[in-house]
Amino acid sequence: MSSKMLFYILKRVLLAILTIWIVITVTFFVMHSVPGGPFVGEKAISKEAQAALEAKYGLDKPLWEQYTTYLEDIVTRFDFGPSLKQRGRMVIDIIMDGMKTSAKLGIIAACYAAVLGITLGAVAALRRNTLLDKTIMVITTAFVSMPSFIMGSFLLIIFSTKLGWLPANGASQGGLILPIITLGLYPMAYITRLTRSSMLDVLGQDYIRTARAKGVSGGKIIFGHALKNSLIPVITYFGPMLAFIVTGSMVVEQIFAVPGIGRQFVSSITNRDYTMIMGTTIFLASLIVIMNLVSDLLYKAVDPRIEFD
């Protein structure tokens, strides 16, 4: 690894830490400025009890002190504290619990999206303007434009309610099939379209014509030159997409009752579960920052012409 690259990675890591710190700070203060609180319920508890709870979780201290204590706990002990709403559970445990399912779902969905997307995209490009190409394009346009809550409900009604083939809840392994399909359809369609256009672009390049003229076999041109070079935009997309998909989708999790992290994230906000809001935000932000960094590094591997600066 060159020193230039090391320097680049170091710079990006520092930048990532800065980004996460900004996310923490903004979230922390915005969150506390929103009306309501973790101990507000339909049936009010006494002022004394409220005060006792606030003291227990340190919410009675000045906001600035709460902020510095929070940062200190994270940096020195990687301690995200207890959930304020799910009494007795630690934030990190809740996140890990949700991530077990979300990550499984996300990784499988991302993999099938990438494999199918690249294949279909390449096929469509190579069979440009044939019926096959047009069929692929129509279907992917439909998947790209259809929101996941419609797609999910649609699959649920057909495969679960009408045909009864698959369970409608994510408590069992079989129940994860439909959410995986739903999660992956959009990125798959998007990748198909990306690959197709990028492949067409590459196929029109001079070096492909040269290779053809030199008598290189069709297979080698496609897999050795065209496909590899047309994957750069796919990689740009794949990194952040993987981060998003792995961190769960509230909509899909809700439709299929999947015990993922997405639902937790949303309910923590409604509940004003401050520590959970912070924990999930930091976690999701870090993942996205890391995935971005990884995909940037991957460019280099695919296209040596790209320079780090």
Binding site: G36, E48, A49, A52, P82, Q86, S153, F256
Partner: protein, 585 residues
Amino acid sequence: MKKLLALVLALVMAMSCVVFASAEEATSIAVCLSSEPDTLDPALNSAVDGATMLAHLFSGLATWSTDENGKLVIVAECAEELTEGVVNEDGTVTYTYTLKDGLTWSDGKALTANDFVFAWKRAASTALGADYGYMFEVVKGYPDELAVEATDEKTIVITLNNAVAYWNELLAFPTYFPVREDVVASEAWATEAATYVCNGPYTMSDWAHNSVITLSKNPNYFKADTVTMDKIECYLSDDANNMLANFENGDWLLIDDVPTAEIANLKVNYPEEFVIAGQIGTYYVCWNVNEEILPEGCELTGAEAEAARQEIRNALGLLLDRNYICDEIGQAGQVPASSFVAMGLTDADGSEFYKNTGVSEDFVGYYNTTVEAIDANWDAALTVLEKYYTVDEATGMFTNFPAMEYLYNTSEGHKAIGEYLQSAFAAVGINMTLVNQEWNTFLNTRKDGQYSIARNGWLADYNDPICFLDMWTSFSGNNDVQYGKGAHADLAMYNLDLTAFGYDIKVENGTWAETYDVLINTIKTCTDNEARYAMMHVAEDMLMATGCIVPLYFYTDIYMIDDSVEGFYSNPLGYKYFMNCTITK
């Protein structure tokens, strides 16, 4: 050869054992009550779905059950019997309970009177800050010096401030369930099956967070032979559409929520399985008592102005067609409400409290909610409004009613009701805009009184009207109307005469704190049951006269249950009981 034969025979025997075993397979039921409960610590829980699970996991001194006619009754559970209290000289009442023999925790350790004493003191304490800590309000020494003690291993002595009609019901309430000190020492005890120690018909065998909680029959339960259902799987879903999909494909046999938009279809398609059960609660609209609704330039001030506002608020309530709200918007068998204390709460003589309220022989409650009365109500309302507001002769509309905002929490159902109110008021020229807020913000805004009119609702925690009345004292944390707060605190215009009940209390032109607060305190310490209920009617009369509380309907509990399930029952608080269920298919 013999060896081979023996082997084959042995195999056949083994196989038949397997077949036999599977024929005797444990019965189990899959249900979905709600999403992941915040807690399954009996002291901390305040949700109905949590209470249902706790009712299967724990045994209190008393429990809800059904008698031979299928009627709901409260019976002794851990206690030998539900004893009568002994009235002390100072008016306090002492109850002494003896625990049954041989009671144990799910881990085999003996259950003692001390476990109850510890659990109650813990649940009531300020330090724990439980939502339902106030369920111990009736106990002497609440919150931190509860008058409860274990005189020996099996005897619990507890002293209440005064006789409480619903005391046995409280003993069956989850907040009163026992917990063991060494178990709850770690706050995480109630978050996973491994550390969850209970004493009820079931134990928690697994908790896959956000997914499913599995309850298995507790062999250590003292009445284990009466439990017919071996396993209950409580699936966790927060989406009514998802619940319905799982019900329709036969995976879940009971779901406790259905999509509002589907109710009309479900009633037709599942006439037997779609159930509308009674629930003790009232959906209502509340006014901010300090909101100015008199027209600009009105010269009334102080008590006179408030008297006018009372009249106007009551008149506006008459403009609403509650039958339309129940039949067209709610669609779940809700009952139009003409009083605040909900249907289902009983009066001193055992009759329905709400049927004994009101002002007229001709109808139940404070106004007539029948379809026939709509025109008369409308005319009566207009007559009042015409006294205070200018009418445009050409259109018949009021022109100088101040613009108002209706605050509700984001939900399709609440929005539909808001839009109905808006259109009903618009029909007489009153301009009301709708504002929705996300739940937590909404609660905060409403509690702080930063609204003019707001959506509201209240569910009973036990069968006593006081739980609908004590929330309106000036010092209550649930006093969203802001009675006795702000400008209203100084308005001396309320009368209270309790001399007929043997009290030396007669206030004329007093403030809310001098009248209503005093009335509620008197009710809470009253030992004469009849007088107590009569005074609760007085309290409701006072509330309804202010016009700040506009009841719309009494809640119902809707759920779907597969017709193969037998032996199921639920109570008016919405708890569902599966322990005596069998599955016939």
